[in-house]
């Protein structure tokens, strides 16, 4: 008797095709769900009022919105945005900066979107030379932006603090306009350039014959101070994960009050 050869059973091409079809159906199905949900809002004979979820935030300086970035309520994927200049009106025309004088610099954040949000601000202070290059050897501490409402409304992320940078988190929900408090309390109220910079000099001594010449140069002459403020906003919904994802910071909420998690 002829010995029968044992053969491996090969799957039918039809099975492979069927499995592909199942995989494709699963993939397409995951996106069809969203499309289907959108279609339920629309009818040829009935127009419903749809609430758009637009996020927007503005930096407010002395009651004027100086910079903002709001999602366009038309829902076309565009942003209504503007980046302004800080301190533009701090010194009256014809006058010059007075060292040691305390200038008003009220800074706060306004929710200019249609959804509630959580916000934080990052403040940078530094010096620039005449060519616009940062001077790391000059002290940012002499640019005194007076921070207020710390500990009550704004909490500092001390792990992010450097000589140049301060990061503050608003510890409450910032509501959309018409739905509650849509402006934060101030996080800064005055700006003073320390008068002691007029005493900081460099001296060079040169001896020529019987004469000694001492040249005194002011370290801060021709140097510009800069204040930079960045405002970040993130949605209220699923805020802990959203803040972790967007800002890389763990936070916790207790009775609606945000706290930082080390």
């Amino acid at each position: 008797m002829k010995k029968k050869k044992k053969r491996m059973k090969v799957a039918s091409p039809m099975v492979t095709v069927a499995l592909f079809a199942v995989a494709m159906a699963m993939l397409i199905g995951s996106s069809v769900g969203g499309t289907k949900a959108a279609l339920t809002y629309y009818s040829e004979t009935y127009t419903s009022r749809i609430q758009m979820y637009d996020i927007g935030v503005s930096l407010v300086e002395n009651e004027e919105e100086v910079s903002w970035r709001d999602y366009n309520s038309a829902g076309d994927g565009t942003w209504n945005e503007h980046t302004g200049v800080l301190l533009e009106h701090m010194i009256p025309e014809g006058e010059s900066l007075v060292l040691g004088k305390t200038y008003q610099e009220n800074l706060k954040v306004r929710n200019t979107g249609t959804i509630n949000q959580y916000v934080r601000v990052s403040i940078y202070k530094y010096w620039l030379d005449s060519e616009g290059k940062k001077r790391q050897d000059l002290s940012p501490a002499l640019i005194d932006l007076n921070l207020v409402n710390l500990g009550t409304d704004w909490i500092e992320d001390e792990s992010a603090r450097t000589q140049e940078r301060t990061v503050l988190y608003y510890n409450k929900l910032l509501c959309a306009q018409g739905e509650g408090q849509s402006e934060t309390p101030l996080f800064a109220d005055t700006l003073t350039i320390d008068g002691s910079i007029a005493k900081k000099v460099s001296q060079e001594t040169n001896k020529t014959g019987n004469y000694t010449t001492i040249v005194t140069t002011y370290d801060y002459d021709g140097i510009s101070f800069q204040i930079e403020v960045e405002v970040d906003a993130v949605q209220e919904h699923n805020a802990e994960d959203a803040i972790w994802s967007a800002w890389g910071k763990r936070v916790a909420f207790h009775d609606g009050v945000l706290s930082l998690v080390d």
């Binding site: 491996m8 090969v10 799957a11 492979t16 499995l19 592909f20 995989a23 699963m26 993939l27 995951s30 996020i55 927007g56 935030v57 930096l59 300086e61 100086v66 910079s67 903002w68 970035r69 709001d70 980046t83 200049v85 800080l86 301190l87 533009e88 010194i91 010059s96 900066l97 007075v98 060292l99 040691g100 004088k101 305390t102 940078y124 003073t192 008068g195 910079i197 007029a198 005493k199 900081k200 000099v201 460099s202 001296q203 005194t216 370290d219 002459d221 021709g222 510009s224 101070f225 800069q226 930079e228 403020v229 405002v231 970040d232 906003a233 993130v234 949605q235 699923n238 959203a242 967007a246």
Partner: protein, 184 residues
């Protein structure tokens, strides 16, 4: 046999693709931002000079500040031999101690009123080889209160120490005011 070996891989690819589609949605949080920056340039430094005229045994001293200099206060005094007496006069100048202080702030491009220093006790035949009257003056940048008002000349600290960043503070060269002078 060969075709069957690919089946698990195809399943795995399909599963990852489907899972990936939903993970992407979970990461899509609403966020936005706004930013602004601004600042001003600091202008420091001043250059003052003394001018003198001499007539009728009187020195007429004027101190001017160069255009672009920051505002300063100035004070002046004169020295001479003990056999002579110096009598000061001038609008806007006030004596306090050994110095005469100009009461007003001297802005860049301005000059003081004349400070007249009359030399008295001159002998009938003075020895001009030994006659020597030296005038010195000092200037110091105007300081300001928090409300922006300037310190008065009386409030001004004339012994400010400049910070040279060295440990040799307090040397004569570190004196906060600028000095100048002239002699007759």
């Amino acid at each position: 046999m060969r075709k069957r070996r690919y089946l698990p891989a195809i399943f795995a690819l399909a599963a990852v693709t489907v899972a990936g589609a939903s993970v992407g949605q979970a990461w899509a949080y609403f966020t936005t931002y706004a930013e602004a920056a601004g600042g001003y340039t600091i202008r420091l430094g001043d250059r003052t000079e003394i001018r003198e005229d001499f007539s009728d045994w009187t020195k007429h001293v004027v101190i001017d500040s160069q255009e672009g200099s920051q505002p300063v206060y100035v004070r002046a005094r004169a020295f001479c031999g003990s056999q002579y007496e110096l009598v000061y006069s001038g609008d806007g100048w006030t004596q306090a101690g050994d110095y005469y202080y100009y009461n007003d702030i001297l802005y860049g491009g301005q000059e003081t009123n004349p400070l007249d220093i009359r030399i008295e006790g001159i002998p009938e035949t003075p020895d001009k080889d030994y006659f020597n009257v030296i005038v010195i003056y000092e200037s110091v940048p105007v300081q300001y209160h928090e409300d922006g008002t300037a310190f008065s000349v009386q409030e001004t600290d004339w012994s400010q120490i400049l910070d040279t960043g060295s440990t040799e503070a307090g040397s004569a060269e570190d004196h906060g005011s600028a000095e100048g002078g002239d002699e007759a």
